[in-house]
């Protein structure tokens, strides 16, 4: 980590802009890829540009070092996942293996119930124990209900907060007690700076064509989606997600204070490279 003290300061602040005191900073985590889709390391602060409602803002914080992850890993256990139970379990273990010591993960399942583990830990033995003991297939696909619960479970966590969902189907409604919808998920994710990732099982998971609502949401949060063919290695996909998260750049800037939603654009000033990061934030009122 090149700027440990700065990083520490950022890591201690939630991503949402509603800081109560002191100088405010909005943190962005940017994924940079080349034309072939490969992650690009070793960029500097000077390579980036942040536009707030189209106007350049000063980058007040930057790190290309590895930043710890805080992940809610949501595993679809609906009945249609029955033929993939072992595959999901083994792949989840590979994801856990790929974590760095400072990363923390909370495992959640959804189907008959939405079970959010109370354990948020970097202890791989504990995570593997949960994978072994707590995956029970059955029920429907309360996808957005589960994503909302995953965000809720990370609401008080500092630093980069990622909700990674593995699913094989579209949302099939919520469980009793949650009256929300996709819109609520979208609003909260963008307002509070959660990064949403989805892995679609057997190419049937989510509407992954460009410009669809779900894909747009993931994109807006700086996250992404990955499709996994039936015969493909899900573990490899999980490892790719972990790798992408590990290689993100941390950028920070001082937000406006007008109480409005702002559109964000992150650019890389090098040809052939593209950056992906959250696309909006809500400014606190002065």
């Amino acid at each position: 980590m090149r700027l440990p003290s700065l990083f520490l300061a950022l890591a201690l602040l939630p991503q949402q802009p509603a800081f109560k005191t002191g100088v405010q900073t909005v943190a962005l985590y940017a994924t940079v890829r080349d034309a072939e889709g490969r992650a690009v390391p070793d960029l500097t602060k000077a390579d980036f540009e942040i536009l707030d409602n189209g106007k350049p803002v000063e980058i007040t914080a930057f790190s290309s070092g590895r930043q710890p992850l805080t992940v809610a890993l949501l595993l679809d256990m609906s009945g249609s996942m029955n033929p993939s139970v072992l595959r999901v379990r083994e792949s989840t273990r590979r994801f856990i293996d790929a974590l760095l010591p400072e990363d923390r993960v909370r495992i959640c399942t959804f189907g008959d119930e939405i079970a959010v583990s109370p354990v948020l830990t970097s202890d791989k033995a504990v995570l593997n124990r949960i994978v072994s003991e707590e995956l029970w297939p059955g029920g429907g696909t309360p996808l957005w209900n589960a994503v909302f619960a995953g965000m809720q479970s990370l609401a008080d966590e500092p630093g980069r907060r990622v909700v990674l969902a593995l699913t094989d189907g579209d949302d099939k409604g919520s469980l009793p007690g949650w009256k929300g919808s996709f819109r609520d998920v979208r609003d909260r994710a963008t307002r509070e700076g959660f990064m949403l990732y989805m892995v679609g099982m057997d190419n049937a998971a989510i509407e992954t064509e460009p410009n669809t609502e779900v894909a747009a949401l993931l994109d807006d949060t700086g996250g992404a989606h990955f499709n996994v063919a039936a015969a493909a290695d899900l573990g490899e996909t999980f490892t790719r997600v972990a790798e992408e998260l590990r290689r993100q750049y941390l950028l920070g800037f001082t937000p406006a204070r007008d109480g409005r939603e702002h559109r964000l654009t992150v650019r890389v000033n090098r040809p052939g490279l593209s950056a992906r990061a959250r696309k909006s934030y809500t400014a606190e009122r002065r």
Binding site: D112, E113, P118, W136, L175, G177
Partner: protein, 302 residues
């Protein structure tokens, strides 16, 4: 839940048998063994009818207490949404458990959905038990569609039973699909055996096979861990018949069988062996033909 997990559970139970055990609160230097005897309805067996072996060697029985012993009991219900097929077990507790309590027995009721809740104290008063139990089992509807922290619930129930004396038991009604636990299955099982509490379980026994590919399948059996915990503590699991049926026996009938079993238990005292912390395998057998003993399978010397 599947082949791997079955293996894990089997490993955990094997581990329990070899590395765990327990010592119920009893006279210093003595270990209490609560023994159910299948085939005995007299309640008049003597120490001469039993054979106890510790680590494979015969052990002397210092004393025998004939049934019924005063019972301290926790009844714990899984109140998650997946338990709806079990019917209204709450009402059955009053009919099949509270109504058959004997002089000296005390109990409390609890349950778990997305949280664990127990009645605040043990009581011998049926009205108090039922009223406090109803309050403890009042989960909001949304709480029933969250996690099912079975191992946390067992751990919590054991924590209130451990300070009690004499015959202590936990009756657990659950589908065995534990999620959202702080406590691991192995830790809960270890504590159950170490505590000397008899654990009876009402749960499903039907395995489900999920085909994963041309050559592999996942075997889902949520009750298997509970079955091993029950057996290791001298308890039972119902339905005992693994016949391929999704129908559970009436909860009341099973609960009544558990209570009859607990009220029929003999208590044997044997001298504790070995250094403090050492673990010892326990085997209890009957000398008379036609009788079968069931007791905890290990203890740890204090």
């Amino acid at each position: 839940m599947n082949a791997g997990i079955v293996g894990l559970v089997a490993g955990a139970v094997c581990c329990l048998a070899l590395t765990s055990g327990g010592l119920a609160p009893s006279a210093a230097g003595m270990v209490s063994l609560h023994v159910a005897v299948d085939g005995d309805s007299s309640g008049s067996l003597t120490a001469d009818d039993f054979e106890v072996a510790i680590d494979g060697r015969p052990a002397a029985i210092a004393s025998l207490t004939a049934p019924p012993s005063p019972l301290t009991l926790v009844v714990l219900l899984d109140k998650t949404g997946s338990m709806e097929t079990y019917g209204n077990v709450d009402d059955e507790i009053g009919k099949s458990v509270v109504s058959v309590l004997r002089s000296g027995d005390r109990m409390r009721v609890g349950g778990f959905a997305s949280r664990v809740a127990l009645a605040p104290a043990f009581s011998a008063n049926p009205r108090d038990i039922i009223a406090a139990g109803r309050a403890a089992l009042s989960f909001r509807r949304e709480e029933r569609y969250g996690p099912s922290p079975i191992w946390d619930a067992i751990d919590h129930a054991l924590s209130v039973l451990e300070p009690e004396n004499g015959l202590r038991a936990l009756i657990l009604v659950t589908d065995g699909r534990g999620t959202g636990n702080h406590t691991s299955l192995v830790a809960a099982a270890d504590r159950a055996v170490s505590s000397g509490v008899v654990v009876h379980v009402l749960s499903e026994a039907l395995p489900v096979i999920l085909r994963q590919s041309e050559s592999t399948a996942a075997r889902i059996r949520p009750g298997v861990a509970l079955q091993e915990i029950a057996r290791a503590t001298g308890g039972t699991i119902l339905p005992a018949d693994p016949a391929p049926t999704t129908e559970l026996p009436p909860a009341g009938l099973s609960l009544a069988r558990f209570m009859a079993d607990l009220h029929g238990m003999y208590t044997l005292a044997i001298p504790a062996e070995g250094a403090p912390g050492s673990v010892h395998r326990v085997d209890v057998k009957m000398k008379r033909p036609g009788l079968t003993a069931r007791a905890r399978r290990a203890y740890r010397t204090r």
